[in-house]
Amino acid sequence: MQSFNLVRANDSASAISAGAQSDTAQQGARVRFLAGGTTLVDLMKLGVEHPERVIDITRLPLADIRKEANGDLFIGATARNNDVAHHPLVAGGYAALSQALLAGASAQLRNAATTAGNLLQRTRCMYFRDLASPCNKRKPGAGCAAIGGANRMLAILGTSESCIATNPSDMAVAMMAYDAVVHVQGISAQGISVQGTSGAWQIPLKDFYVLPQDRPDIENVLKPGDLVTHVALPPRPAGERAFYLKLRDRASYEFALVSAAVAVTLAQGKIASARLALGGVGTRPWRVPEAEQVLVGQAPSEAAFRSAAEICLRGAQPQSQNGFKVELAKRCIIHALKHVTN
């Protein structure tokens, strides 16, 4: 592991100004925030990440989970994945998020991993993690060993000629379905400013991740110094039923081949509202509003679910080893929708 200078932030402002000294907040940043460490320390051992300065943010007061006055659920950036999953407000009101978190990693990792760390976790593409392989995400312009290589686990949606790396998060898939908004503090104002708070703004999760295109090293909209403070989830409609279905090679402790987060309300036997997001198939957590719209007004049926699933997978570009994901993802969606509507 490359040497680094380790400091502990006592307040957000100092963390932000220290982070702003980096030239990027993306791959290879010179300054990194350390929370649970389950991604960062791992990648530093591999030499994939090599910050000169590491800012420990675990002592900042960012771990709260609470209901806000406006009805939003506030989930602090450093709230641990297990604490979020088991919190009554999450398990009771946002079941798919609780299920997604508990379907991820192991109990030990969930005790360390944080909300913001999970949002920012890196792909498990083996070539990204292997310095001996060309990888455009690790080194722009180097090439991609995954295209034409071992790509069974990799993405079929949102890919480019530069990168087919899958976003590995379960949590972010459920948050995508729940219209999550990422709250950030920093010095480079972007997004929607939060009233009355200087340097604070919010980014809808659907706009948080960027597609790889020709710069897969840029994974999200964060700039140097940007500190995620919390994620807000709007209140859910009464009677909503939600489910996170994760399909994987092992029954536990494995990344998704495909997953689906669904949330549906019914009125007079018809679907009144629908939320649908996919994991394991996209270069970012994948949500398709058109597929949700197609469900609204229909009575629950396999045909209706299949038509929504077809829309979700429109434009899928399988690689040499992951063509099975196209039909598997459709069946995952159909199964999850059946589960919440029967």
Partner: protein
């Protein structure tokens, strides 16, 4: 007042080591370590508490599981300096010869190991599990123990040992 603490006033100008206090099994250790040192390496190589094992060193096998602030975590992915002052418990802090923790005794009784390399991590996970919201069944235990890999395949007896401690008998529902 400065709001960034060097977690570690450098020991001297040519030395990148950081000064920390690790609280392990109730004992305070004042240490000067390289900030790269993981908690796992610090426990084993600096404090010579070798009961905690290094398996994969990437958070995948669970052999390095310890309790930090009462919660089980992978010590291989924790920087020791980031746990300055935290309460850490390792297998050495759980019981002693003649005064085994009930989980240690149950692992013995059920022969819940073969080579034993993963065992301290299994036991640290199993003890933490006793205070986690785990359902009553064997499948629930298997799910919550999935972060501890045993290449000998001692899983059936590990589950029996854990269920005995949880329910006072083996092979519960």
């Amino acid at each position: 007042m400065t709001s960034l603490d060097t977690v570690a006033p450098p020991v001297d100008s040519d030395d990148s080591r950081v000064s920390i206090t690790l609280r392990v099994n109730g004992t305070e250790h004042k240490l000067a370590i390289d900030p790269r040192t993981t908690l796992l390496d610090c426990l084993r190589e600096v404090l010579h508490l070798t009961g905690t094992k290094k398996g994969c060193d990437h958070g995948q096998c669970g052999a390095c599981t310890v309790h930090i602030g009462g919660r089980r975590m992978n010590s291989c992915l924790a920087l020791a300096a980031a746990h300055d002052g935290d309460e850490i418990v390792t297998i050495e802090g759980l019981g002693a010869p003649g005064h085994l923790h009930p989980m240690q005794a149950a692992f013995l009784e059920h022969d819940a190991y073969q080579c034993g390399y993963c065992t301290s991590g299994q036991i640290m996970s199993a003890v933490a599990l006793l205070h986690e919201p785990v359902g009553p069944g064997d499948d629930d235990v298997r799910e919550f123990m999935s972060g501890n890999i045993c290449r000998c395949g001692a899983y059936p007896n590990i589950v029996k040992a854990i269920q005995q401690v949880r329910h006072g008998k083996s092979g519960a529902a």
